[in-house]
């Protein structure tokens, strides 16, 4: 795989340099040297950093005297280094083995985190499996898997997502999907071993070199062309605010159209690529505190002062899973309707449909004067269309859970009663002395549920079982229990007949999952994130 990527990349860079549509090779290499130098100056003294420094210092010395041929060779070496690192230790044979053993192993990892503990206590540990509800277009996904290559595009709230999805795919009878995982996730050797051999490739977010980014995209494109189903988190990183992603990164998403075009041009038989939206809804989110603190620091700028709380990660995982199991909470995985690489709906037979349900041939979107042709601007507009459709699907397939609805009603009621207009100052004032009478919150909740029922009736959102039941005391009980079991401070606490703020930031975080629907007459509080 890596050699295919390197070959294509080098060919493309040379062609661009020659035609004058891109930089000369020497400039490309200089840019790499610049970006890598910046990165390495802050990279410490790990073995990898040392090896990288040695590699680039060799290139820096050679470049000024290098002939054209030698320059091309250096470019080749750099791209190859990138591609090998991205690919990691992936081994097709190990992949086959891992495919068989990974799901139970993953379950084990999630349940115990220590294989030793597993062997002895396997029977006592409830399976995470039982805590997943998989719903939506599962059958369509299974069918399309037979007909083409799948790009699964989930919402992203937690580092647990990829593992939860691994389990879900196994439950649906599908093999593991390839996906790009942040370098930090490979630091745990056990998790790292399995991730590599399940086709996870490495993404180093600290590498800012455009050549690296392009190599990464090419890698994803090639895996798709080689029929490897892919998992992309189109939001890029975990949602900091807790809101469902309303702005998507188009880089990786765009590889589906690139791979499709290559497939069509080669006359490949199973050329189809299907993009399948998916939402993951957690009643509690493992990293909620860190994420919302990070969000507020960024969004509120100087208005907000952050207080850090450190916890050992393993300990938090255990607490989180214990909480989940003890309260019998469910994680909802919802599979949305599939799209083609242009953003059109796809039926169960894999046909692309126009908005009125008429069958169309998507390859015709690529025609230039009657032939399939490359056009970067055109394809990025198509990808923009896919992104828009995915954002819509995320909204509709989002599942409102008791923690979300209670946090929303509570938060909005507090906002209405406060005369602080500035969101960040309001949040800063949300201390434990702030409370509301229980009946008031229940009343607001009743109205919110009515609105949600109506919205869900139109297919605008999904409701969890208990939220759908409309049983207010039950919803309240579930939410308060969930809020009390995992987070350091209970998010919302009941004291007598009043509900008190426990952790205002987390109330905001869990509320944000329902942001952007205009519920309770509110405006969007979390603006869609844009680049830069």
């Amino acid at each position: 795989m890596a050699s295919e990527v390197v070959g294509r990349m080098v060919e493309r860079m040379l062609a661009r340099a020659e035609s004058g549509t891109g930089q000369p090779v020497e400039e490309v290499i200089n840019e790499t040297l610049y970006h890598e130098h910046l990165r390495l100056s802050k990279a410490g003294s790990s073995d990898e950093a040392k090896a990288d420094r040695a590699f680039y210092s060799k290139i820096r010395h050679e470049l000024p005297r290098a002939s054209v041929n030698r320059q091309q060779r250096l470019l080749h070496e750099i791209v190859e280094r990138y591609a090998r690192e991205i690919q990691g230790h992936f081994d097709p044979k190990a992949y086959a083995v891992a495919t068989k053993f990974a799901p139970p192993m993953m379950n084990a990892l999630l349940n115990g985190l220590s294989p030793g503990r597993l062997v002895t206590r396997l029977r006592d540990v409830p399976s995470l499996d039982e805590h997943l509800i998989i719903q939506g277009e599962v059958e369509t996904l299974q069918r399309l898997h037979e007909r083409g290559t799948i790009v699964l595009t989930p919402t992203h709230s937690s580092n647990l997502d990829s593992m939860v999805l691994g389990l879900a795919l196994h439950r649906m009878g599908l093999p593991p999907f390839t996906y790009g995982a942040g370098l930090n996730l490979f630091s745990n050797p056990i998790v790292g071993y399995f991730m590599h051999n399940l086709g996870a490739y490495t993404v180093d977010r600290l590498k800012t070199d455009p050549l690296y980014r392009e190599t990464l995209k090419e890698y994803a494109t090639v895996t798709l062309e080689f029929d490897a189903d892919n998992l992309f988190f189109p939001g890029g990183t975990r949602s900091r605010s807790g809101a469902v992603e309303a702005y998507l990164k188009k880089g990786l998403l765009g590889t589906s159209i690139a791979a499709y075009r290559q497939n069509v041009m080669r006359g490949k038989e199973t050329s189809n690529i299907y993009i399948v939206p998916c939402t993951i809804s957690y009643p509690l989110v493992l990293e909620a505190s860190t994420l919302i603190d990070d969000y507020l620091r960024e969004a509120g700028k100087q208005r907000y002062i952050i207080v850090d709380d450190e916890f050992s990660k393993v300990r938090r995982w255990l607490d989180f899973l214990r909480g989940l199991f003890a309260l019998d909470l469910r994680i909802y995985i919802t599979i949305g309707k599939p799209l083609d690489p242009f953003g059109n709906d796809v039926d169960e037979q894999g046909n692309s449909l126009d908005p009125r349900g008429r069958k169309i041939d998507p390859s015709e979107y690529l025609l230039v004067d009657g032939e399939v042709g490359e056009d970067g601007v055109r394809d990025s507009v198509y990808t923009g269309n896919v992104a828009r459709r995915l954002v819509g699907a995320f909204q509709r397939e989002n599942v409102a859970l008791p923690t979300n609805v209670v946090a929303f009603a509570f938060f909005e009621l507090l906002r209405k009663k406060s005369n602080e207009r500035d969101l960040y100052r309001f949040l800063r004032g949300l201390g434990p002395e702030i409370s509301l009478p229980m009946p008031d919150v229940e009343q607001a909740l009743a109205l919110l549920l009515e609105e949600l029922q109506a919205l869900a009736g139109k297919g605008g959102i999904r409701l969890s079982q208990s939220v759908g039941s409309g049983d207010i005391p039950e919803i309240m009980r579930r939410a308060l229990k969930s809020f009390g079991i995992y987070h350091t401070t209970p998010v919302i606490q009941r004291k007598g007949v009043r509900l008190h703020v426990g952790d205002g930031n987390l109330v905001f975080y869990y509320r944000n999952r329902l942001d952007g629907y205009g519920l309770m007459g509110t405006r969007r509080l979390v603006p869609p994130r844009r680049p830069g």
Partner: protein, 345 residues
């Protein structure tokens, strides 16, 4: 559609043979492209094909010989790499839905309709996206009085699309010594510029009828543009678009042309006529009357401050007399000349 000189020019379809549709077809035909012009009326088709005239809309114009009129939508569309849709907003959806039956993903669609669908508040390109497989689309808009164009007078126009090839195709079909074609990527802004100016045109009619002078008209045009931009930006447009042909350009021509339907409605109201009477006297509906309603609800939804457009709405639909409306507007506290929210974009 880039091609060598001497290569055969592809056939282009134009849907709608009103005055603007016929004019678009005429200009494309004059550039040497075969044109299929679709219209509903058989009589009109026959007249265009036999006499090369369309007297109902363009009395004195001899249309290009390259135009073939047809009543068969499929015949017009199939095989044409580029399709212009020039259908009033009221029947736009119905026609593009029918077009969707035969349209293929490789075909480019450019619409030239200045209006918003009154029921849904959608722009025409949004309707197009709901009804067809077209993704490679654009919009044609600008200060283009059909009659002047047919008389061969010089003009400029804008094609907006996110797809450079669509702009290129539209430009090669239309560009001539008489017509300059400018490109823009801001589809939303170009659509809204052409649509919202109709409301200001009604106010311009009122000013003329009340004989308030040229200073007042300049005040109206600039403040009107400012409000148009405010709505545009709230709906996702680039404010700079309104400084172009599809913004200030179109607004100027509409406000200074006493023949436009919107202008006439405004004038009639200023002379004390009721809206129903004014519309009846006109014999056709001015787009601005509906657009004012749409603007009113958009302003409400996005909580936008657009006093001028709101006054037109109230004059049309809430019995505010134009004279009172102007008095109210003159009494508002004046703020910054240039909207600060639009600066620094």
């Amino acid at each position: 559609m880039s091609r060598q000189a001497g290569e055969k020019k592809p056939r282009i379809a134009v849907l709608g043979a009103g005055n603007w549709g016929s004019t678009v077809a005429h200009m494309i035909g004059a550039n040497g492209y075969p044109v299929s012009l679709w219209c509903r009326s058989e009589k009109q088709r026959e007249e265009i094909n036999t006499h090369h005239t369309n007297t109902r809309y363009l009395e004195d114009t001899r249309l290009s010989q390259n135009i073939t009129a047809t009543n068969d939508l499929e015949e017009a569309i199939v095989g044409a790499p580029l399709i212009f849709v020039v259908i009033p907003s009221k029947s736009f959806r119905e026609v593009v839905r029918a077009m969707g039956e035969v349209l293929r993903p490789s075909q480019f669609v450019i619409h030239a309709t200045k209006g918003i669908e009154s029921r849904t508040h959608l722009r025409m390109s949004e309707v197009l996206l709901q009804e067809t497989c077209a993704l490679q689309f654009g919009v044609l808009s600008g200060p283009n009085i059909a009659l002047e164009m047919c008389q061969g007078k010089p003009a400029g126009t804008v094609i907006a699309s996110e797809f450079p090839r669509v702009i290129e195709a539209g430009r090669s079909a239309l560009v001539s010594e008489q017509l300059r074609v400018y490109a823009n990527t801001d589809v939303v802004g170009v659509e809204l510029g052409g649509t919202l100016k109709n409301v200001v045109a009604i106010a311009a009619g009122m000013l003329s009828a009340l004989d308030l002078g040229e200073n007042a008209k300049a005040l109206l045009i600039t403040r009107g543009l400012s409000e148009i931009a405010r709505i545009g930006v709230a709906l996702g447009a680039d404010p700079m678009t309104f400084a172009g042909l599809a913004g200030i350009g179109d607004l100027m021509v509409t406000c200074s042309s006493p023949l436009s339907r919107n202008h006439r409605v405004g004038a009639a109201l200023a002379k004390g006529m009721k809206l129903d009477e004014a519309v009846e006297k006109l014999g056709m509906v001015a787009e601005g009357v509906n657009t004012a309603k749409v603007v009113h609800s958009i302003a409400e939804r996005h909580r936008l401050d657009v006093p001028l457009l709101e006054s037109v709405y109230r004059a049309l639909h809430e019995n505010l007399t134009p004279a009172e409306g102007i008095r109210e507007l003159m009494q508002l506290s004046s703020r910054y000349d240039i909207d600060r929210a639009l600066q620094g974009h």
